[in-house]
Every structure is written in C-alpha cells, then in structure tokens.
Symmetry: C2
Subunit: 160 residues, 2 copies
C-alpha cells in the first residue's frame, strides 16, 4: 500500500470521527482479530485505511476464489463493532454471526436474545469496504438504528 493510498482513510488524526464510539470500537475489533500481528505498531489511520475502498481500489481487486483471512477479519470486525454498539445502547448481549460460503458470498446476522436485529446478505466480500470512514460510520449507524427499533418493538423476544 503506498503513501498516496494511505491518505484516503481520513484527512488528519484531528478528524473528530476518530473520537466516535463506532470508530474507536472498529479499531479495537480490528486489533482483536489481528492474528498475524499485521497492525502492531500501526496508527489508527493506517489500520482503518484497510476499510476504505474507492472505486479505483475496488477495480484492482480480483474476485476470484475464496476471500482471504484478512478480508474475513475485516467483515467480522465491522459486524462485531455494530454488535458492541447495540449492546451499549440496549444493555443486552448482541451476538454477531458471519457465515461466508464460497466465492465471497455469505450472510451476517446479529442476534439479541431470540431476536434477529440485523440480517444482511453479503456479496462480493473480496471488495468489502467503504468509500470513506464517514460512509462506513453512516452505514453502521443505519444498522444500529434498525436494530434498536426492532428491539424496541419486541423487547420480550430480545430479553429471552
């Protein structure tokens, strides 16, 4: 990854997005799943840059074969972070599931009690990424909002 590419993640460390719960959690989750130590000693920008895929970057990624471990870790970190935010908001345990079949297809679920609060089909996992950190946060916030809405509607099932 070159220096020019690295500037994509976010403008500066002063960007207030780095203080948001979601981005803080994304960093924590990404480090937690870093089995190979690839993020040791790296800055938040460098780590989160791996989630930023502009159209140009996407075009460079081949979608042949099964996604590698690093891609899978990114997909898991994103959904883990959403699950943590759900937990913080509703004080109930939220459990994420990511099931990838071959060729980059799959499904991600988040379960609270007996309630499925997020359920999405994953496609093109090889190219899992977002145009910017801010777009990533917007998408996470959207899933969080939908999850809290369904929990509010069926609190009994979420509490099972």
């Amino acid at each position: 990854m070159n220096a020019a590419a690295l500037t994509l993640a976010a403008e500066t460390t002063d960007d207030p997005i780095y203080q948001t719960d979601f981005i803080v959690e994304m960093l924590r989750q990404t480090r937690a799943l870093d089995s190979y130590g690839q993020w040791d000693g790296k800055t938040p920008q460098q780590i989160l840059d791996s989630y930023v895929l502009t159209k140009e970057r996407k075009r460079e990624i081949p979608v042949i074969g099964d996604p590698d471990d690093q891609i899978i870790s990114r997909v898991k970190s994103f959904h883990n972070a959403i699950a943590v935010l759900i937990e913080k908001e509703c004080s109930l345990m939220a459990v994420p599931f990511v099931q990838l079949t071959h060729e980059g297809f799959g499904r991600a679920l988040i379960v609270v009690g007996k309630l499925v609060v997020m359920d999405r089909t994953l496609r093109d996992v090889h190219r899992f990424g977002f145009e910017s950190l801010s777009k990533m946060k917007t998408e996470a916030d959207k899933y969080l909002g939908v999850a809290l809405e369904i929990i509010g509607k069926y609190p009994e099932v979420a509490g099972l």
Copy 2:
C-alpha cells in the same frame, strides 16, 4: 469402517425409522453436502452409520486440531434437516447457521423470520454423533418441538 461397525446404524432396512420424515431428510441433506462423492452408491444404512458414535467409537476419535470437512458436513446436515422439518410444520422459511470456531467449538442457529428458534452451543464437534439413529431422531424431535413452541408464541416475529 468394518462390517461389525456398520451394523450399528440400524438393525435392518425394514426398521420403520427409515420411513420417518427426519431420517429421509437426513439422507437427503447428507447427500446434498457430499462434495467428494463419498456416499455415491452407498446404502442408507452405510450413509447414516457415520452419525452413530458409540462410547467406544468416540474414544477412538482424537479431538486435536480443527474438525475436518466431513465432520462439518455432518453437523450441517443435522441442523439443515431440523430446519426442513420446521419449515414443513410452520410453512415459513427456516434458515440454519453453523459457525465453528477453532478446535471444535461453535454455535448452531436456526432462524425463522426475525425469530431465533434454535440456538445451541457446539462442543467437541470432532465427536459429533449419537448413540443410535433413534437417539438422533429423538434429539431432532426435541429441537423441533421447542422451535414450534416459540414460533407459536411469537408468530409475528417469525413472520417478519
């Protein structure tokens, strides 16, 4: 597998258990996940015998490392078959998820609409099996019963 071991699966083909919905579905699911063609041309008894683990057989299985593809296929087939039976009973789509972490631990879920109708922790997946076909069916029936009960209690969530 020797001839003596094969007699474990069920006494004879005439055993009425082979006509039950669950066992018929188990055969179908096991064949569906047979990527290597290991069950081609095999009898129902030979195929289902792979699910029968007496205490002696269990003792012979090492629990080191990750479970192999054949074990994972058995775990999936079992939960797929339960999901199909749930669908038949409630006429709603039931989606099974099996998520295995390393070393043979994991979790199996079945989801109907936004309702989690089965949720179990898997341990010792290397030794996934049942004392007899009849015990396997009893366990599946138990999960089916619990699933239908919760669907009956929260039909709105199951219908989402």
